[in-house]
């Protein structure tokens, strides 16, 4: 039902609220991250999940209360996690963390010499970059956070973690 989160049915996500400035714009929500200096643009579904993720609701409850499919909730949570609108479970541990997303890419890079491509959809502020790393028999794909510098999708180089910049938020 919940894909990558299916093993975590007991997870009760908590949205980060500190260090943020928030404004509504139509049915969207703009969130300015005062620590990372980026504006995130939340669509109506993601904003609804974010507001409901108060640590009391499981993923299934979030889907019910937000009137969204499980897939939509999962997508929203993954996006929120990637943007460091931090979601933590009731034990205070990250359940979908930026580190995990970055880590999957970093592992691919570390596995060999890679031709790396950051296929970016940078034109859309607030959207996460889609990236793909190929080579050495490994492929890592996914969405990556934009908090490390504010430059739009550069190339991916390999060291400890993916050293490219993938910022598709609006740096300020």
């Amino acid at each position: 039902m919940f894909g990558i989160l299916s093993r975590k049915q007991s997870v009760r996500p908590v949205a980060r609220t500190d260090g943020l400035s928030i404004t509504l714009s139509g049915d969207e929500t703009l969130v300015y991250d005062r620590e990372r200096f980026v504006i995130r643009r939340l669509d109506a579904d993601t904003a609804r999940v974010w507001k409901l993720a108060d640590g009391t609701r499981t993923l299934a409850m979030l889907a019910d209360d937000a009137h969204l499919s499980a897939k939509a909730v999962e997508a929203s949570l993954a996006k929120l996690a990637a943007w460091d609108l931090a979601l933590v479970d009731s034990l205070g541990k990250s359940f979908v963390t930026r580190r995990r997303l970055i880590g999957s890419a970093a592992g691919a890079v570390a596995a060999g010499s890679f031709i790396a491509r950051a296929a970016a959809s940078c034109a859309n502020a607030g959207s996460p970059c889609q990236f793909q790393i190929t080579g050495g028999g490994s492929i890592a794909t996914g969405e990556i956070d934009c908090s490390y510098g504010g430059l739009c999708c550069g190339t991916v180089g390999g060291s400890k973690w993916v050293a490219g910049y993938y910022d598709c938020g609006t740096p300020l």
Partner: protein
């Protein structure tokens, strides 16, 4: 500026730090100190100060004083230092205002409503503003749109500087004759249109409607001091966006773009 006016400024109280003459300036919700290296430079700076500025005691200013830092060029003159300080002072006023939100934007007025042209420095705002004024619009600003809590736009007039280099104007045009009537200057006006027009040499002017949320993000990017006051900026800019027409696109020739923009009103 008469010498006697400078004497009056000096009599009213300036400070002296690091060999500077330090002047306290209050303007549009900001109180900023500016350090001037010598009297001649002060004489050249005072006419460049923003309209409505008032001298205040240095102890009432906040933040670091605006100062002449280091020689920008071997041939630096008092005139170029004065222009540099005026520009930096304007920015400090914009960044520190507790009353208004300052947008990097050119502004003209048609009738009793404003057309706002957001854009970074050196993005061609002054040229487009001058072209609009040539075609009948009244002049409000070529650098900052000053936004109140109600979303009204206030002027930030100055001598328009057409530049080809940072801080070194190649010519200044006084458009004070093109200001709208005093009542509009005093009370500000609503925005009728916001146009994000990127200058692309030799391009045809192409402007498309822009949705409100995208416009808000663009405005935030052009807001001086957004990082320091995000909540205030969101609030003021959201009210500014009550205007009915928002466009984004590119433009080449300023006269052609001005015609196109006026036709969209």
């Amino acid at each position: 500026m008469l010498i006697s006016d400078i004497d009056l400024i000096l009599e009213q109280g300036t400070g002296s730090e690091a060999g500077d003459i330090t002047l306290g300036v209050s303007c549009l919700g900001s109180a900023v100190a500016v350090g001037v290296p010598n009297r001649e430079c002060l004489e050249l700076l005072v006419p460049l100060l923003p309209p409505g500025w008032k001298q205040i005691g240095i102890e009432r200013t906040s933040g670091e004083p605006v100062r002449w830092q280091s020689p920008m060029r071997p041939e630096t003159t008092n005139e170029s230092i004065a222009h540099y300080l005026a520009s930096q002072l304007e920015y400090a006023i914009a960044e520190r205002s507790e009353t208004f939100v300052f947008l990097h934007a050119g502004v003209v007025v048609v009738g009793e409503e404003a057309i706002i042209l957001p854009g970074e420095s050196h993005a061609g705002k002054s040229t487009l503003v001058a072209a609009l004024v040539k075609q009948g619009a009244a002049y409000f600003s070529d650098e900052y749109a000053v936004i109140s809590s109600e979303g009204r736009v206030f002027p930030f007039p100055r001598q328009i500087a057409m530049r080809n280099d940072l801080y070194y104007p190649v010519g200044r045009t006084d458009l004070s004759h093109a200001l709208p009537e005093e009542s509009i200057v005093a009370s500000g006006c609503r925005a009728a249109m916001i146009v994000f027009a990127k200058y692309v040499p030799d391009s045809v002017c192409q402007l498309e409607p822009l949705d409100r949320t995208s416009a808000l993000i663009e405005l935030c990017q052009n807001t001086v001091g957004f990082r320091a006051r995000p909540d205030m900026s969101f609030s003021y800019l959201d009210r500014l966006l009550d205007c009915p027409r928002i466009f984004k696109g590119q433009r080449g020739d300023a006269d052609a773009a001005a015609s196109r923009i006026l036709a969209l009103l």
